[in-house]
């Protein structure tokens, strides 16, 4: 019998609020997405100047990963190639695409590089030295069933021992990130890695412990 997988921790950023493991960590109403992300960065007391170069999708997903991994020492227990990422969203990098296109006559490589949704994977990998399997899929809506199957398969085939998976999407002022840290380890906040639990967390409901 294989060891069961857990959602070791989770983080949702939506509606100008940050929720970690079901508790509101931060909230800042009516400031707009760009300001909200910068204020959240400052609130978290992170010193990572590259943050300011990121587009809003990378800022959003990267901040969610920072909150997700904060105080999670288990990351140190694994080799870089044993830790991976599966991220999904609906609008790919369209927000960055439009910004790049508006300045195309003086095309900037610093903007062009963010016209790919998987740059967020790269940003999280660079920050944490994660080198394992990573992928970026597009779905019209959050698809917990797919995430569950894909991550289960990576663990079953010994590709990963720890995985960040979930959703990060930005289009204009509409945004949402929901990230899950998946592994065999058990922490105080751990819940079963199920489709239902991911859906409940995504919708902002506390999953059953």
């Amino acid at each position: 019998m294989k060891e069961p997988l857990h959602i070791i921790s989770n983080c949702v950023i939506a509606d100008e609020s940050v929720i970690k493991n079901g508790e509101v960590l931060y909230s800042d109403k009516n400031v707009g997405l760009s300001s909200f992300l910068v204020q959240l960065y400052k609130f978290l007391h992170i010193d990572y100047p590259k943050f300011y170069k990121m587009d809003n999708l990378s800022k959003l997903g990267w901040l969610a990963s920072e909150v997700l991994l904060k105080d999670e020492n288990i990351v140190k227990h694994y080799n870089p190639e044993e830790i991976g990422l599966l991220l999904t969203n609906a609008n790919s990098s369209l927000e960055a695409d439009v910004k790049y296109f508006q300045t195309i006559e003086m095309a900037s490589p610093a903007l062009f590089v963010y016209t790919l949704p998987n740059i967020l994977n790269g940003e999280i990998c660079i920050r944490n030295n994660f080198k394992g399997e990573n992928a970026c899929f597009i779905f019209e809506t959050f698809n917990a069933a797919f995430i569950k199957e894909y991550v289960d398969d990576l663990f079953a085939n010994n590709k990963l021992k720890l995985c960040i998976c979930g959703w990060a999407d930005v289009i204009g002022e509409t945004y949402k990130a929901a990230l899950f840290l998946i592994g065999k380890d058990v922490a105080a906040s751990s819940i079963d890695f199920t489709e239902e639990n991911m859906d409940k967390i995504f919708e902002g409901l506390n999953a059953q412990l």
């Binding site: 609008n91 990998c125 970026c136 797919f146």
Partner: protein, 375 residues
Amino acid sequence: MKDVFIIADNIFSPLGSTTKENFDALLHDISAVKEHHNAFADEPYYAALFNNDFSLPASPEKNYTKFEKLIIASVDEALKQSGINVKDDKTLLIISTTKGNISLLESEVYDEQLQKKIALHTSAKLITAHFGFINQPLIISNACISGSLAIITGMRVIQSGKYDNVVVTGADIITKFILSGFKSFQALSNGLCKPFDADRNGINLGEAAATVVLSSNRKNADGIKVISGAVSNDANHISGPSRTGNELYQCIAAAMDDARLSKENIDFISAHGTATIYNDEMEAKAIALAGLTSQPVNSLKAFYGHTLGAAGLVESVISIESLQQNTILPTKGFEVHGVSQPINVCKQIIHKQINTCIKTASGFGGCNAAIIFSK
């Protein structure tokens, strides 16, 4: 685990609309890369583009985008060979692309309607409906390893038993959006690109679609299998490759381990070989770390240009055809060895019995992929 066979394939490129037409063009040293003068750039540039009047078998009543038309043309031809039932609940479609419909930003007004039209899930729905697949398709957009990752994903969902047949397709088109971006990186070659060459100075961009149909059921006695694949991240830089090649090597080693193959079992390597200084150097280091310096290595970028998300599929289809025909293709554009490692860059056609090859790919965001095909 179940074996995964390639039961049909297609390349729809400026060199032809079937795998055979494409492979024959390559055997005759014909490149799709040409000098272009058009509104996409102030200066002439080298790229492999479709003529504007390219004709497609897609049903004319539908107002498909160019990206969707290319996918439909490629899938249509591959499906006809495959004989699979798209309406079976054990059949899946996987679509891969780097930028999909992004060129629509250049020709249409940006509003909510265009947002929806550009969205890859919209294209996926149209393509799914066109062919009548009943399962929701998967869509992969993972920079220049998109097509390779799509093949690996297709292999995995067959190995796990979830699906019996997977149609893996991908396409990218080149317009001002993409051309200007690569130009801003000073990554475009001013002539035909020269992979692994001492004088290489950048890429040529290219347009293409390609498809493979994967199945748990062997169709022909000489069927090629996709036997393993792996993905990694450099965790180094979002737009520059690893300086060590260690992470691409990690992928190659993982794929070889999964397939229980040692270096003596590998007959050739189909590299990414974009002809940028840093990519080719990184790949040479990875190939050397894997101990594969004596195996012939080719890059097809001077034939097709860099077809972005489609590249992994296009080059995999050519590699599969190479295995079937026992023919390793040369690296067009390569003359003088120009990487730090003594890899064996293939300069001319090699005819010999071959059984196994590795296809590698790397892309922005630090992503790498390796796939092993075998008889």
